[in-house]
Amino acid sequence: MEKEFLQIITENQGIIHKVCSIYCDLEEDRRDLFQEILVQLWKSYSSFRNESKFSTWMYRVALNTAITSFKKDKRQPDKSGVAYESIQLAEELYDTRTEDQIKLLNNAVGQLTGIEKSIILLFLEDKKYEEIAEITGITQNYVRVKMNRIKKKLKLLMNTEE
């Protein structure tokens, strides 16, 4: 089972990286969260029964772990949604417009709550409301309500930044 788990996680590790990117601003926190998610996935793997898609199950475990593992105050994880070091590195890789957009994204997402971050991440990953509801465990109707509020909040935040 361990080999099978390692194989499937290696293939789908992008999901964990995306969750870590949206919840952590420091490389150290990111590594800790990656490891914590990995451990929780391993602990829960035996209970995965193909009732949902593997990616849906993986998103659920990863987001549940990220939302419930609040970090120590000294690191202040919620001030930023996207790793600062990554933006510095990104400056060398992206054009100025993309770089500005990433900075805007970073500042705006950083001001969302844990639940809002999970919904916006799934929205950015083109998940339908039905799947977002399945992953987060809230009703589709409430996902719609939350999504509308997040969109308004993000627009306001991004327009203020610009």
């Binding site: 590790q13 990286h17 602990k43 609040f70 890789l93 805007l104 409430y142 309500v145 627009k155 610009e162």
Partner: protein, 229 residues
């Protein structure tokens, strides 16, 4: 910036991040082997340690009452019946509360895992944390009862001894002297009890207070009936 631009920025950023942090099977396996305990795991471990420590402490209190005191104190002491009642009552209270706590803990133990719905997970963690808080305050109460009973017994014995030496025994003390003794005793005991409680209460809140508040906030955010007008 529009949301579609946000989406394209995210796509560019996340694909770049994936390339940057991509790990091989061996590195992932290595991370799994050096697994660390999460906060919930640590709380669970602390509860188990606490259960054991409390059991040892309760055993000590009872053994001390019924066995050790008789061996260590050579001169026989005759306590009044109200003090005996207080002693038996506090021990019964301690043992009952402890048993109640252990039963509660094993009932909620591991009733959740990370792949359950977020609400269930949050409720599970909250229940574990609240159980830990109950255990902590139970230990505090046991300690305070123990301090109080020992203090009252000590004062009583001291007064009885002194009264026996200088006058005809405790029965000869005037009401005003007895009231003064009670007042002095309370003036010393109450600050000790209050300060001990406040210090331990502050320590617990410092460690877990913020976590409890955040968990409750997240749970409230998930409550549709509260958030949808």
């Amino acid at each position: 910036m529009e949301l579609k631009d946000l989406k394209s920025a995210w796509d560019t950023y996340s694909s770049q991040e994936m390339v940057k942090h991509q790990m091989g099977k061996e590195s992932i396996n290595e991370l799994l082997k050096t697994q660390t305990r999460s906060l919930v795991d640590r709380i669970d471990r602390n509860i188990r340690i606490g259960i054991f420590v409390l059991l040892v402490f309760i055993a000590y209190v009872i053994i001390d009452d019924v066995y050790l005191s008789k061996i260590l104190i050579k001169e026989p002491i005759t306590y009044p019946s109200w003090m005996r009642f207080m002693d038996v009552f506090s021990n019964a209270l301690i043992v009952t509360t402890y048993l109640f706590f252990v039963i509660c803990y094993f009932r909620i133990k591991r009733s959740f895992s990370s792949d359950t719905q977020l609400k269930d997970l949050l409720n599970g963690i909250l229940n574990t944390l609240k159980t830990y808080r109950t255990m902590f305050y139970m230990a505090v109460i046991i300690l305070l009862i123990n301090i109080s009973v020992s203090f009252v017994a000590g004062i009583y014995e001291g007064v009885k001894f002194k009264a026996g030496v200088v006058s005809g025994g405790i029965i000869t003390l005037t009401t005003s002297k007895i009231l003064l003794l009670i007042a002095v005793g309370l003036a010393i005991l109450i600050p000790i009890i209050v300060l001990t409680y406040l210090l331990l209460h502050w320590g617990f809140n410092k460690l877990y207070g913020k976590y409890l508040v955040k968990l409750n906030e997240t749970l409230t955010e998930l409550d549709e009936s509260v958030n949808v007008e």
